[in-house]
């Protein structure tokens, strides 16, 4: 296969956005849908189940449909590789081989390499469909949704145009798609479960944080050792690669890119995108992850952070052994199993693909990455453990609210100068739970007075976005039930408020990014918010 270039879905050219790569993606998707029995019923039941917070009877109906999706050439199979409602003993077989489902990696440093391998496997399946249609399979590459470049063009905050309509616009021909009885041609890239707002044109003044990658791209490290006070780009280190429970469920640090924009885009689009078990059914999932993958290239190359261990650092450490030995396995249409490890997916040139651009979005001036060989790049390894000084909770989360975060004792008048100079500050959220998929992300402000307005442009108080993708899955009865956790680096906010900030008696304001959904429905709650320092 020749080198291929993944290109932005929002780009100049066709006014209606139906560029050739999207037309062939739609053609392949149409075939993949046809190989997925009961998909329309799945979407119908899903729409019914979501407002009811997925009652057991409806989930069982989803299971009964999904357990038929045993063909790796189908979108049903490919979506379940990410996550599934189907219990493992009921996973289907393909040519005698049991499906390899529910493999997705989140909340740790394998998030990016695993999803890169997943995209490569998916791309190969799409190419095979294009080949069978007589299309330009060897030149085709997955497009990406360039929402994170919204500063250059706000329209990019909206779903790419080819994903929006239920039917194809006039003049657009997708190979293999036949007319319905009403004479219109169905759009294979349309998903009926998405929230309407996600598909609408962005309005002036509309929120943009959910699509912003700047916070992630500014992180100094790719990954951090467990329980350090850093927030990393890619997620916490897993030192034991054979502990599958850590890989899939309960690692300790969510990387900033994983949280935002990755998680916040999932929540923004909503519908099947809001759940691990169904996200891959929406074509936008693949365009979204293509962009997440591109942002990794931006971080590694354009911003100079490189890839983990590429300069030979970390020799002999448990982390490096883990990085080099954790296997990602995929069942292919020919019933063979492909196996990847993280170091195999780092060099995109050898993987024969690239991006039309990996230029970063506009970023504030930042210091360069820590020098190689300094003992810390690309990891935050030798850091002291953070110490909690003030906390709040448990608390419900059903709309905007101010939360007093205090030590509950001691001298609450202590200022920042009473702490170690140069301390780093962290706002940690533990035990975030919900009884349904989160309807929106929340803005987090630190140290706002009760009469002060919350403004995301106010860098002295705006601490970041609390993205809630995955919270429901971690809260269910058949899950661990401890919910999820998040952390925000609030050092800049504490330093900006240094003259007035009182670490032992401060406040956190949480404001929903999208106040329109019924926020009480999902019964969000947080066990504890803590202010920590190192």
């Amino acid at each position: 296969m020749a080198n291929v270039t993944r290109r932005a879905a929002w780009r100049t050219g066709r006014v209606n956005g139906w560029h050739d790569d999207l037309i062939w993606f739609a053609a392949a998707y149409h075939r993949m849908r046809a190989l997925t029995p009961g998909l329309d019923d799945f979407f119908r039941i899903f729409r019914e189940a979501q407002p009811q917070r997925f009652p057991r009877a409806l989930v069982q109906q989803l299971v009964d449909i999904a357990r038929q999706w045993g063909d790796p050439m189908s979108i049903g199979y490919q979506s379940q590789v990410h996550g599934t409602f189907v219990p493992s003993q009921a996973w289907p077989r393909h040519q005698g081989k049991k499906a390899l489902w529910q493999e997705c990696a989140h909340n740790h440093w394998f998030f990016l390499p695993w999803h890169r391998a997943y995209l490569l496997e998916f791309e190969a399946v799409v190419r095979e469909h294009i080949r069978q249609l007589g299309g330009p399979a060897d030149q085709w590459a997955l497009p990406y949704w360039n929402y994170s470049d919204h500063a250059r063009d706000r329209r990019r905050l909206g779903l790419p145009l080819p994903l929006r309509g239920e039917t194809l616009p006039a003049g657009v021909v997708v190979p293999g798609v036949e007319a319905r009885p009403d004479g219109k041609f169905p759009n294979p890239l349309f998903n009926p479960t998405r929230r309407a707002r996600a598909a609408a044109e962005p309005q002036p003044g509309e929120d943009t944080e959910w699509a912003t990658a700047a916070e992630a791209l500014l992180r100094p490290h790719y990954a951090n050792q467990e329980d350090t006070g850093f927030v990393s780009f890619g997620g916490g280190v897993i030192e034991n690669p054979n502990n599958a429970a850590l890989f899939h469920d309960s690692a300790s640090e969510l990387g900033q890119l994983d949280a935002q924009p990755h998680g916040s885009v999932h929540i923004r689009v909503n519908g099947t995108m809001a759940l691990f078990e169904a996200a891959g059914l929406d074509p936008v999932f693949w365009l979204h992850h293509s962009n997440v993958d591109r942002l990794w290239e931006t971080y590694a190359h354009d911003l100079g952070h490189g890839y983990p261990f590429e300069d030979g650092e970390g020799a002999g450490t448990a982390a490096r052994k883990s990085w080099e030995s954790r296997q990602f396995r995929f069942l292919r249409p020919d019933a063979t199993t492909s196996t990847w490890i993280a170091p195999q997916v780092l060099d995109v040139t050898s993987l024969k693909y690239g991006y039309d651009t990996t230029a970063p979005p506009p970023l504030p001036a930042t210091p360069p990455p820590p020098p190689r060989g300094s003992g810390i790049a690309p990891f935050g390894l030798d850091d002291p453990r953070p110490d909690a000084v003030a906390s709040a909770g448990p608390l419900p989360l059903a709309g905007e609210q101010d939360v007093a975060v205090s030590a509950g004792g001691g001298d609450q008048g202590l200022g920042v100068d009473s702490f170690r100079p140069g301390a780093r500050w962290l706002l940690r959220f533990d035990g975030i739970r919900s009884s349904g998929p989160a309807p929106t992300s929340y803005r987090v402000f630190l140290g706002l007075g009760p009469d002060e307005a919350a403004d995301p442009e106010d860098a002295a108080h705006y601490a970041g976005l609390l993205s809630l993708f995955g919270v429901y899955e971690a809260s269910r009865d058949d899950g661990v039930g401890s919910g999820q956790r998040r952390q925000l680096d609030v050092t800049p906010q504490v330093e900006a408020q240094a003259a007035t900030f009182r670490p032992l008696a401060t406040s956190v304001r949480l404001t929903p990014l999208d106040p329109s959904p019924d926020l009480a429905d999902s019964e969000l709650s947080i066990e504890r918010i803590a202010l920590e320092f190192t």
Binding site: P87, S88, Q89, Q102, Q225, E226, D227, E239, N242, N243, A244, A245, L246, F247, H248, D249, S250, S252, T317, A318, A319, L381, D382, P384, R385, P386, D387, A388, V389, A390, S391, A407, G408, G409, D411, L414, D417, S418, F419, R420, P421, R428, D430, G431, D477, D478, G479, V480, G481, S482, R485, E527, R528, A530, F533, T534
Partner: protein
Amino acid sequence: MTGTATTRRWAPAAVPRRWHTVRIRGPEWWLWAVAGAGWVVILTSAVLGVLDAPSAPAATSGHAGHHHTGAQGVGLGDLGLHSLAWLAMVAVMAPLIARNVRYVAMRSPGRDRAGVSVDVVAGWALAWGAAAIVLGVGTWLLAGSAGELAAIGLLTGIAVAWQYSSRKRLSLARCHRVLAPPLDRQESRRVSRRFGVGLGRDCVLSCWPLMALMAVAGHNPLVVASSVGVAWYERCRRPHHAPGTRETSLVIAATGATALVAAYLL
């Protein structure tokens, strides 16, 4: 307040410089020492032959060749040995909650980490202590009334069947639970103990047939090792709420068979 004074008060806990050694010295490290002590007890008692299957006073041993008859009854010495054996069995399981303990400790102020670690483990051990009494008496009565071989067979069957139950799935998933305790020291320790009790309850509900099987098999090291292996496998596999019924039930059946052979021969 001066900067010097408060820096001392709020200084983060010092940690070793070499990052890959930190795990070893984390707040949960001593659970591995506890498990080591448990193994010493189990292996020593096996080598010395001081432990045997529990049997009630009015019972026979279940097979002709067995030297431990009901007529001997259970003296204080026996009771002490069996209590020690139960303690050892719980101890070898302790590292299974190392991650839970670590999480609670790391979410606590540095000065409280050791204390909350002990509190979580104390709560967990309390739940296991209560379970040990019930299971100890239960297995003693069962072995006494049905005989050792029948008791091993029955408990193997129960342990295999338990792997397929929804209660097992739910309890196993909950074994992964974590807690971020309040910062107030007294409240934190109270909540941590309560969390430990809940964790212990879920561990008991997940693993009680295995523990009963170990007890009725006379704390045979092979049976203990196999049961601990099953528990670790379940703990580290995914999805976390699926106990891997086929694999684990096969191992449990093999373990039961081993216990039967050992009980018959010894």
